[in-house]
């Protein structure tokens, strides 16, 4: 039972990271109907940037966190402007390929700038543990869970109470109507990319203490797909719930099932859910009219 709880908690922590990456997918998909295959790479870029700020420049963890998030917000908007804006309205297949290309470019640039060695950062949470009876929770796992809850609350408040957030919601519900209402739709797209890059960056920095920072970190983004699909690809709470589900499934199957199941468990669950509910667990079932 103790083992089970222990695995459950590490699964939830991992799942929160998947959830945060999936949140990035969902934000962009909801607003622009683009599925961003470069989300994992954007997360990786955020993590590597934190290495520069924390280890190379020797800045304080919290200050570095803030600087990274701001830098990624700017980079996110630049990516949208350079790569996605010119192909607005192209078939989805082309757009998906463009984001895959973007991911390749980011991964290669990260390799050229930071090298291919494993890196690590010092955080206030390193090496600390939290004990409840015999149960041991590492601080960095706990930090991820707490940060996810805070981020979700912040995003909820942003979309619920701010003008920009409401404008974004309008854009994602009906682009044309939003445009008629005087909402600058194109600027909203840039903002959404910034927001999504910020979330990804936060996920990357939070993840850094658990897995080392390396040039293949971006592949976690592909693990986050099942999370987003489970959540229905259009729902923000769904993304986090899907992420946590995938994290728990992966952690438990790594512990109880033979070797090899851990890596594919997420995809098996994904295929099973898609066969049963093609629009994901929280998705809307809609047929587009001609």
């Amino acid at each position: 039972m103790l083992d089970f709880t222990q695995q459950l908690i590490s699964g939830v922590a991992l799942g929160c990271v998947y959830g945060l990456i999936a949140l990035g997918f969902v934000l962009i998909y909801k607003a622009t109907e683009v599925v961003n295959f470069a989300q994992g790479e954007i997360m990786m870029l955020g993590a590597f940037m934190s290495v520069t700020f924390i280890t190379t420049l020797g800045l304080n963890y919290w200050l570095s966190f803030l600087l990274c998030v701001i830098a990624m917000a700017i980079l996110g908007a630049i990516m949208e402007r350079l790569v996605l804006r010119p192909i607005l309205g192209y078939p989805q297949f082309s757009i998906v390929m463009a984001t895959i290309g973007l991911g390749l470019v980011i991964r290669a640039l990260v390799g050229i700038i930071w090298g291919t060695d494993d890196l690590r950062i010092e955080t206030p949470f390193t090496d600390g543990v939290f004990k409840i009876g015999a149960l041991v929770i590492a601080w960095d796992a706990l930090s991820i869970i707490v940060a996810t809850i805070l981020l979700c609350a912040a995003l909820y408040a942003f979309f619920r109470f701010t003008r920009v957030g409401i404008a974004m919601q309008a854009t994602s519900q009906n682009m044309l109507a939003a445009y008629y209402m005087g909402i600058p739709v194109k600027r909203m797209f840039s903002l959404i990319w910034s927001l999504s890059a910020m979330v990804a960056c936060a996920a990357g920095i939070l993840l850094a203490p658990i897995t080392l920072i390396h040039a293949n970190l971006g592949f976690l983004g592909i693990k986050a797909f099942p999370a987003a699909v489970l959540g229905g690809f259009g729902s923000i709470p769904g993304a986090v719930a899907g992420g946590i589900t995938i994290g728990i499934v992966e952690s438990l199957s790594g512990f109880y099932l033979p070797e090899g199941f851990k890596d594919v468990a997420a995809y098996v669950v994904l295929l099973a859910v898609l066969l049963w509910k093609p629009q994901g667990l929280f998705g809307l079932n809609a047929v587009k009219k001609v």
Partner: protein, 380 residues
């Protein structure tokens, strides 16, 4: 301007558009038959890779270009074809039998993947094929009694009717298979099946209301595409003569999608152009790696820049050139540039060059510009 006089229903979609086309295709085939006597063995080997990639490109063109279904997991079908070949050859099946059987076996796998595709579209389908590819890769790595796991399998050289196929023999085998596959694909696209694929691509709802059994045609598209990829996998296994799970990873699937994106989704010619581009990019990159520092040297000396700048440029260039991710950097940029500036691919450019030369003095740039596209929502 070109006018077509049609006296027969068959004229509306002929196998060859004109007598000139027949002539040029004959020249191409003759050139390819003569190639082993003209080219060095390195280029012959590249030609074999181009043909294998072209077969995969044709397969993806049928699925994505014609039927409009997305797959980013085609490396899995290549793997199934390759491993089927390895196992069949070990059990003593002859090539004439296992090459088509690899296609049939992979086609069945494709049919099974196509079943969930009935209920999924767009991005859900892309991600489902991705998941399938990961699962296949993992199964191959773990099913050690058949696939020998991560250590991989060695394949003896192929033999046809008891004769061992050498480099040239294998080249001719690939050429024959490629020509047959392309002919088959053209005829599928010309048939009612192909037209149903296009109807589904353009609008699934409209196709269904026209009485097209969308479920049947979608699974057919998957099965056909997978089967053709399986045949390519069989040839690929022989070409490499060693297969292991990491040869069929996600990046291979992305390479395959790049073939049709770069070549152009509209026609089969695009698949061949894309395959040539993808395979010849490697030797070009090697040349670039050799020459770029020299060129940088010439430029910096030509501009009489101060020594510190020259050294900095040299260091920067050598760092970029020797970076492990150079290939993916360039490929990434190529994908983005092609999608933004050449959405119809190399084939689209070729068509425009042809149209320009046909209407030579009268051609205007505006007439070649593709129509503007507007955002089409996939939701309600």
């Amino acid at each position: 301007m070109a006018h077509h006089v049609r006296t027969d229903y068959g004229d509306s979609d002929p196998l060859f558009p004109s007598k000139a086309a027949v002539f040029w295709y004959a020249v191409l085939i003759a050139g390819l038959i003569a190639a082993p006597y003209l080219l060095e063995s390195y280029y012959l080997s590249q030609l074999v890779f181009i043909m294998i990639y072209a077969i995969v490109g044709v397969a993806l063109n049928i699925l994505s270009g014609q039927a409009g279904q997305v797959s980013i997991g085609h490396a899995a079908f290549l793997a199934i074809g390759a491993y089927f070949t390895a196992v069949a050859q070990k059990h003593g099946l002859p090539l004439v039998l296992y090459l088509p059987l690899a296609g049939v076996f992979t086609g069945i796998a494709g049919y099974l993947v196509g079943l969930p595709a009935l209920r999924l579209h767009g991005i859900y389908l892309a991600i489902a094929t991705l998941a399938f590819a990961f699962i296949v890769e993992e199964i191959i790595a773990r099913w050690e009694s058949v696939t020998n796991g991560n250590e991989g399998l060695m394949l003896p050289p192929p033999s046809l009717f008891g004769l061992k196929l050498g480099t040239e023999g294998f080249y001719y085998l690939c050429l024959l298979v490629t020509v047959l596959v392309v002919l088959a694909a053209i005829n599928i696209i010309r048939s009612s099946t192909g037209r149903s694929f296009m109807a589904i691509r353009n609008s699934e709802t409209a196709a269904r209301s026209m009485g097209i059994d969308t479920a049947r045609y979608k699974t057919t598209a998957f099965a056909l595409s997978a089967g053709i990829t399986g045949i390519a996998g069989s040839l690929y296994a022989h070409k490499m003569s060693f297969i292991s799970p990491e040869m069929f990873s996600l990046s291979v699937s992305i390479d395959f999608v790049m073939i049709i994106i770069i070549g152009g989704l509209v026609s089969l010619r695009g698949a061949v152009f894309g395959a040539i581009f993808m395979i010849m990019a490697d030797p070009l990159l090697i040349i670039l790696k050799d020459k770029l520092p020299l060129w940088a040297d010439v430029v910096t000396h030509g501009l009489y820049l101060p020594d510190t700048v020259t050294q900095a440029v040299q260091a920067g260039v050598s760092r970029v050139v020797n970076a492990p991710g150079l290939k993916s950097l360039i490929f990434g940029i190529i994908i983005i540039v092609f999608i933004i500036y050449e959405p119809l691919g190399l084939d689209g450019r070729w068509q425009r060059v042809k149209a320009y030369s046909k209407q030579f003095p009268l051609a205007r740039q505006r007439s070649a510009r593709p129509p503007r596209m507007f955002l089409k929502s996939e939701r309600r």
